[in-house]
Symmetry: C2
Subunit: 402 residues, 2 copies
């Protein structure tokens, strides 16, 4: 197996290390490595194979292109070119797969080569393999997951060190858990892309990640954290999708998770994915969702899978786009944060609607209220009423899950 590798950063280094120490002699050979600036890699192994020119990679006689450059536009271009030229592709690029997975896998099928992307979701956790192979005879009913390490780290810091969001984000940036521009992580876009990929495979319908209900963690305050703790919960950025009567729904949002639920115990870069199949029941997978060796390990297993089963592809990836269904009538439990001065009004509406609720805590002019079995539609109505009567509407709705 002759590899062209695009990118020699964190994941690339992990992969190359694994190839070099391969004890099984699988015959994996590195033919070229594309980087942006060759000088930065002068002390690295395989320096003689490093190039800044993509044409050097394609002019080598490679069987498989490993794409680890991150940048969506170029990655898409190179992946497509490789597949069209009958070259297998392994990628860790969630953006490319979320946006173009269906198109690219069709090209791979036509050309009789493989496109694999285990590392694009949950790093070292082999969730795509489990979904598509081990659960092959199951109708998948739902997915619950923590898929983003940055937000998980920030929320843990807020809980454990009583920090406000901004300070926790700063800490995350200092230790390398968050990027200088953390938008894709903290707004939930990264997690939503990953959830869309998993939902695609699980439900065999193309889910556009932008159609999911997405709420990031940037509005979570210390008051919300304390309120969740009062209820025996920890706030996590939860990814959930499900199918019911053929309709797919899903969200990425801060949720208060009871401490008995394994999702509440996931720390730092660890990911958890729980998949519910109609035959096997729930299967949960836990492991590192990021990191050089963890993600490198997932890329490596894709490479060895292609060696073992040349030309195989996921049959579940479909180009039938599905409408992501939103049900504003679904009743859930919520922690909602209102301005203190509006609370009397809120209380009246909740009472008039026979809803069960109670104040949890108040701080800095805000009050958090736990409301049982309420619809988002009703919460929207309350917000609308507050706005029309001169109050500020709620700052955040945190769903509570057992």
């Amino acid at each position: 197996m002759k590899l062209g590798i695009l990118g020699y950063g964190v994941v690339g280094s992990g992969l190359i290390n694994m190839i070099d120490k391969d004890s099984k002699d699988r015959g994996i050979e590195i033919k070229g490595i594309l980087v942006k600036d060759k000088r930065k890699h002068i002390d690295k192994k395989h320096y003689e194979k490093i190039t800044e020119d993509i044409e050097d990679i394609f002019s080598e006689d490679i069987d498989t292109l490993v794409e680890l450059i991150g940048d969506e536009e170029n990655a898409y271009k190179y992946i497509k070119r490789a597949l069209e030229n009958g070259i297998n592709v392994v990628t860790a690029n969630k953006a490319v797969i979320a946006d173009y997975g269906d198109e690219l896998i069709n090209i791979a099928r036509e050309k009789g080569v493989s496109l694999r992307f285990e590392a694009s979701v949950a790093g070292g956790v082999p969730v795509i393999k489990v979904l598509s192979e081990a659960m092959s005879g199951n109708q998948i009913k739902s997915i619950n997951a923590i898929l983003n390490g940055t937000t998980n780290f920030i929320l843990s810091k807020m809980h454990d060190e009583k920090l406000e969001y901004k300070d926790a984000l700063k800490k995350a940036q200092e230790v390398g858990f968050a990027e200088a521009d953390p938008s894709a992580d903290v707004f939930g876009y990264d997690a939503a892309r990953k959830l869309a990929i998993l939902s695609n495979i699980a439900f065999e319908k193309r889910v556009n990640w932008k159609d999911l209900y997405i709420c990031g963690i940037d509005k979570v305050s210390a008051l919300d954290i304390d309120s969740a703790s009062e209820l025996g919960c920890r706030i996590k950025l939860i990814c959930h999708s499900e199918v019911e009567n053929g309709k797919v729904s899903g969200y990425v949002r801060p949720a208060a998770v009871e401490t008995g639920n394994p999702l509440s115990g996931i720390v730092n870069e660890n990911n958890l994915v729980e998949i519910c199949g109609d035959s096997v029941g729930k299967i949960a997978l836990v492991g590192k969702g990021a990191g050089s060796f963890a993600t490198g390990s997932a890329v490596y297993s894709d490479v060895t899978d292609i060696i073992e089963n040349p030309g195989s592809n996921l049959s579940e990836i479909s180009d039938e786009i599905t409408n992501v269904y939103k049900n504003p009538e679904k009743k859930e439990d919520f922690i909602v944060r209102y301005p203190v001065e509006s609370y009397e009004v809120v209380e009246n509406i909740l009472s008039d609607n026979n809803l069960i609720f109670r104040k949890i805590l108040s701080k800095d002019g805000d009050i958090s209220v736990f409301i049982e079995k309420v619809t988002e539609k009703k919460l929207d109505e309350i917000d609308e009423y507050l706005k029309n009567t001169g109050f500020q509407k709620s700052s955040i709705r945190i769903i509570k899950i057992d």
Copy 2:
């Protein structure tokens, strides 16, 4: 894919149900089903394909034999015959794989057919696939697992309902969680066979299950349960194996697991397997280790794997038998139960050896003692001394894990 199925019990029914509802039209066709007594299956689907004669199965033109009869001797015979005749085999039989896996997979390789056995360990949890495929580039360092539902159910009952072992066993038998003869489960043999299979694959060396350190749960008392609770632990039958400097060691034994450890929260028929790889780190898998549909799902995925990748086999199964290493000098924390009257003697020896220890609880003439960082060799010496001075030795040693 033309199947001959041996056995139409719990797992067979789950599998056949999945085949019948297969939405993907994978072309799986049932050619014959072997049972012991045809009259018992008169109201079942595919009755016309049921036979009591194995020759009816082999005389059909089958590609794959699915072996689900349990009985080790016949299962081995039929599996071997199938493989020798160029027929793929899928089995859920841990006894056959633990005892003859190496021989059988060699025959499969020679004949260019597949032998698959995902369902033999941890039921619906795809641990063999994850070990052999998803962690392909990793050196596996250790395995920690709960692999037996019967003992897990009994120990949970003992904790939650304060039952003695005998009463908890009776309850387990009443609700179908334990067999009339529960020996293989409660003595730890079932778990040891499964651990041996996993260790085989993980360490690529044949581990004889009888060479593992095995201690069942039949000697665990209510006092032990209470003592573990006092330390913030729950007693679980833990399977552990590891490799260090090329030496494999492993045990199946009751262990006091701290409640923060996910192993402590596994209930009933659920299994947990945590595998540590040198690159990916720890991957944990949780799901149902038994049951009609869960185990049927694992068998089904093996069948679809053979359709996708005909002739493929695990490369990790080796016939190089390894010595399972025991290190009596390794220091661990233990809860040890002594007769109350011997405690003064025990106390003196522990003090003389500068060991840190403390009494936990006493009941019915027994006392439980928590001893830190002590070797099994030292505990053996104390037992020997007790015996020589007219006392009874300790009743049980429960290892404590964080």
